[in-house]
């Protein structure tokens, strides 16, 4: 018997143990996501990848595919809720795209484009989050952190360093670095770390590299995220 489920009416094959998001990615079908990265254990926190399975909503990055599942993803209802989540992420931090080096290559921004987010809708929180420019090669701009914890996972699971962690709780949850001073320069972080490469937004930035690619030629200028990320890359 073949291992398949349907996603928005399309038949999707899967390997036993695969999640819905993984199987969809292999089949070239894009489901929006931010905290998921194919090289890391699914986290399930951003909730952008929420789909409806047999009438019940759940995160597709942590839900294992099962034979005969009927999954809805690209419906106006679900996309409206996903759009609301991106709006929440925008107002929670300080996301000023025009002055951000990651603009055009930012997954949050590209996902918001995909979802047709025309405004942040909610009132802004304008949190006060100082940047950390202490490291010789890397700038940390916490204003843009969406708490996806990809850098936490990369540093812990790949680099074996635990440079990053989340502290605080609730709306005060924030990224910390592994130093008594709280400064990145006082950690063993280097530009070669996996954690330096996984930030989906503009928090972890290589210094002296900003705006190297002209507008029009950046990742999501060339193709929308749905076409770029369908393979989960």
């Amino acid at each position: 018997m073949s291992h398949t489920f349907t996603l928005d009416g399309k038949t999707i094959p899967f390997e036993p143990g695969e999640t819905i998001l993984q199987a969809a990615g292999r089949a070239g079908v894009y489901i929006p996501h931010l905290c998921y990265h194919p090289e890391f254990k699914p986290h399930g926190s951003c909730k952008l990848c929420t789909v409806k399975i047999n009438g019940r909503q759940t995160a597709s990055c942590t839900m294992r595919a099962m034979v005969g599942m009927v999954v809805e993803s690209e419906t106006e209802e679900i996309n409206a809720e996903r759009r609301a989540l991106t709006q929440m992420l925008f107002v929670e931090g300080n996301h000023f795209c025009p002055s951000c080096e990651k603009s055009g290559n930012c997954q949050l921004q590209a996902t918001a484009y995909h979802l047709g987010m025309m405004s942040p809708h909610y009132d802004h929180f304008y949190p006060n989050r100082p940047v950390d420019a202490s490291h010789p090669d890397v700038l940390l701009d916490f204003n843009r952190c969406i708490l996806c914890s990809l850098c936490v996972r990369a540093s812990r699971d790949v680099d074996g360093k635990n440079v990053f962690a989340l502290s605080g709780r609730g709306i005060k949850t924030h990224l910390i670095v592994n130093a008594k001073s709280g400064r990145l320069a006082d950690t063993d972080f280097t530009l070669g770390d996996k954690a330096a490469q996984v930030c989906p937004v503009g928090v972890i930035l290589k210094k002296r590299q900003g705006f190297a690619v002209p507008i029009g030629e950046r990742t999501y200028d060339k193709a929308p995220i749905g076409e770029t990320l369908a393979e989960g890359k």
Binding site: C97, P98, A112, Y113, S119, Y126, I215
Partner: protein, 182 residues
Amino acid sequence: MSDKKKLKVATTSLAGCFGCHMSFLDIDERLFTLLEHIEFDRSPLTDIKTVTPGTDIGIIEGGLCNAENVHVLREFRANCNILIAIGACAINGGLPAQRNHLPLTTILEEVYHTSPGLANGRIPNDPELPLPLNQVHPIHEVVKVDYFIPGCPPSGDAIWKVLTDLLAGREPELGHGLMHYD
């Protein structure tokens, strides 16, 4: 659409840089087509000083950084049927909002009292001058806004698309390439 039914459009720039207005002009020769359907009311393009009641569309560039911005925004909201926020500053505060993590008192102190090179520094207190707000706000936090055209600035094409969608009675939509926040 006949000439008699031309839509009245008003525009203004609050805490903005007029870049969105410049982009509006980037519609280029399509402006002629547009002018067959609309006429400008209050706008930097006409020098009309007040918004005529019953104006169809108000286009706001820039966020709210002082009391005068609030007065103008309220005038637009009161007199326009449809209000459009155009550009990053109107939509999320933009560049002016980068001051929001600092207390205004600290900023004024720094700018007028403690900056080097100031002689006899005093904070201007002429009643003619609008007072700055404690924080910069996007306009949707103060009045209801009907449509948004993101971008810094949005391209002439994006502005054209939204306006023509509205003129045709369609829900405005920006696809890939036209939708951008920078």
